[in-house]
């Protein structure tokens, strides 16, 4: 029999997870003109786009424009989407092996890292990702509760999620009304009594992960003054040397912008956002009512590691910051997938350059691949997943050429569709999504918003008239 990849016998590929990594794997495969490849993209949610829909902040609509390229990929005649199908719940790896030559896992990093400090689980302490998923209308998080009657909030971390959370907390209702933030979140934030927001970075201003456009944006909030402590942003000798050595002009600029905030007089806006540096949380303290009442911080100083990385080192100076709400954003971690080898050390699918490895032999498992955050860990921007996915697809095509494939018992596209619809009668296709999308945009247009999201699965199904189409 001829090798798969021809019109008579297309290469059949399943991709699990319809975020950017999944779409980029699909794009790299479908772009091949010398091979005939069928791509089925599965997601546990009825809707595609992963964190572009459920992670990217609602006031950053331009970043979401990348979905246009995903739609282009989805328009390929050999692409199918199965929304609402979860690996481990509706299908398992054996089901996929029985129907595909290759499987790629692109499920992202679905959980947050813990701070590992006392009081972390007190009511009022939340992973920032939960708040993000909530305000973005992720169906699994739309019933979350956050006590926005608190006036003082700490956001631990200075990565882009931490900055998003702090910024959304500081936005006025008028600013949020122009976004696609979930309706219930808009109402909750309209009632918010938050007045003081602290962003807490463990290293110095020069090492903060946020980008210069993000810092500038924090200085232009309609309803919040930005505040910085001069001694915390002054450039120290180590950081200056590191910036000079690496020729990091953006790093110098970042410090410059923050120093300008330190000099800026408060304009008397209703809220205040304070950017703190060189502090690490060591405990969350009880308010006396069994909830978060404060956060204990230790002051850090900077030291350089053997490789020149500037690191935070705790001093013996500490302080207590009274806050009633804490969001932690100190990193993410992948979640193991049922039946897929996991590398607990790095929190990723056990892999070498995208090839899934057998945990015992450390040799590639034929036909199984991974890309995106579940492959390399949570780093980079959306576009970083494109070269990452290319590395994986290169491995997939090398293995195709070498005949290292799964041997599915039934590679008929109709067979797997029958199986999926039998296991999950409410499966949605891309055409369903495009209809939902049009409905969301139309609902938004009526109110001067980019879209008004459906946030519950039954709501989506009702809008589609309880029936799905391919």
């Amino acid at each position: 029999m001829a090798a798969p990849g021809t019109t008579e016998r297309p290469l059949r590929v399943a991709i699990v997870g319809a975020g950017p990594a999944g779409f980029y794997v699909a794009e790299h495969l479908l772009r091949r003109t010398d091979l005939v490849i069928d791509v089925d993209l599965l997601d546990r949610l009825p809707t595609p786009y992963g964190l572009v829909r459920a992670g990217v902040a609602p006031d950053h609509q331009k970043i979401k424009a990348v979905t246009a390229t995903f739609d282009k990929t989805a328009a390929h005649p050999r692409f199918r989407f199965f929304g609402g199908v979860e690996l481990g719940k509706h299908v398992d790896v054996e089901d996929l092996r029985a129907h595909y030559h290759q499987i790629a896992y692109t499920t992202g990093a679905q959980t947050d890292r813990r701070m590992g400090i006392p009081g972390e689980d007190l009511p009022g302490s939340h992973p920032a990702t939960e708040f993000v998923a909530w305000y973005n209308g992720h169906p699994d998080y739309c019933d979350c509760q956050f006590d926005l009657s608190q006036e003082r909030v700490a956001v631990v971390g200075v990565g882009n999620v931490a900055v998003d959370v702090a910024r959304v907390l500081c936005r006025t209702a008028e600013e949020l009304e122009r976004t696609d933030i979930a309706d219930y979140a808009l109402e909750a934030l309209r009632q918010s009594r938050v007045r003081e927001v602290y962003l807490l970075g463990r290293r110095g201003a020069a090492q903060a992960a946020f980008t210069n456009p993000e810092v500038k944006e924090l200085g232009e909030l309609a309803g919040a003054d930005v505040c910085v402590l001069p001694d915390e942003v002054a450039l120290d000798a180590l950081s200056r040397e590191a910036l000079e050595k690496s020729g990091d002009r953006a790093g110098f600029k970042k410090v410059e912008i923050l120093e300008s905030y330190a000099r800026r007089p408060a304009a008397g806006k209703p809220r205040r956002l304070t950017l703190r540096f060189l502090v690490s949380p060591v405990a969350l303290t009880d308010s006396g009512a069994g909830a978060v009442g404060g956060i204990r911080l230790v002051r850090n100083r900077l030291v350089a590691s053997a490789t020149g990385t500037i690191q935070a080192q705790a001093t013996d100076r500490s302080e207590d910051l009274p806050v009633g709400l804490v969001f932690r954003s100190v990193g993410y971690r992948g979640v193991p997938l049922p039946g897929v080898p996991f590398d607990d050390k790095w929190g990723v699918v056990l892999n070498e350059k995208g090839r899934v490895l057998d945990p015992d032999s450390k040799q590639p498992r034929p036909g199984e691949y991974t890309a995106g955050w579940i492959k390399r860990g949570p780093s980079g921007v959306i576009g970083t997943n494109k070269p990452d996915a290319l590395e994986t697809v290169t491995a997939m095509l090398e293995d195709l050429a070498a005949g290292r494939l799964l041997e599915p018992a039934d590679a008929e596209p109709a067979a797997v569709e029958r199986l999926l619809r039998q296991r999950q009668p409410l499966v949605l296709g891309y055409a369903d999504w495009l209809r939902l999308n049009a409905l969301e945009v139309a609902r938004g247009q009526a109110r001067g918003r980019p879209r008004v999201k459906f946030t519950r699965v039954d709501e989506m199904l009702a809008a589609l008239g309880n029936r799905s189409s391919g």
């Binding site: 331009k62 990091d248 053997a306 020149g308 350059k353 450390k362 390399r376 980079g380 576009g383 070269p387």
Partner: protein, 144 residues
């Protein structure tokens, strides 16, 4: 971005050798695994040096008996060790200025991987490509 992101897609293979082994054995390992350097470890699996193909070539150019020498004779002892949390940028600039091609990575006193200058270049290239791609998407959107 940090070094952990590189190690995450390399499996956890670090090819090691002992100081009292021969250069012949070292060459066998380098060829077998198609790599450029070995981490030299002691009884407690602690790295005490790095032996690179360059170390061997340098000696081989003037000593035909290089095969019989011991790893301890040729290895670089002036060792720089990284950690998974090290910044990609800092590691890259240190490897370039110190002319290091292979960096053993330690975590909690244990050898957990090795990062090559090629790994660092590729990670930085992917990082920049990703940023350019995302920025282009945003700029294109602005044009609408």
């Amino acid at each position: 971005m940090n070094i952990a992101g590189i190690l995450a897609t390399k499996g956890d293979k670090v090819v090691t050798i002992r100081a009292e082994q021969s250069i012949r054995e070292a060459l066998g390992l380098l060829a077998q695994h198609n790599i450029g350097a070995l981490v030299v470890i002691d009884d407690g699996r602690r790295p005490i040096g790095v032996l690179s193909e360059r170390d061997i070539v340098r000696t081989a150019a003037r000593n035909e008996a290089v095969f019989g020498l011991l790893v301890s004779h040729l290895m670089t002892r002036d060792l720089i060790l990284g950690t998974p949390g090290d910044d990609l940028g800092a590691v890259g600039s240190t490897m370039v200025t110190r002319r290091i091609r292979h960096l053993p990575i330690m975590d909690g006193g244990k050898l957990v991987g090795i990062v090559t200058i090629g790994d660092v270049v590729k990670a930085q290239r992917d990082h920049f490509q990703g940023e350019v791609d995302t920025l282009q998407t945003i700029v294109m959107e602005q044009g609408h």
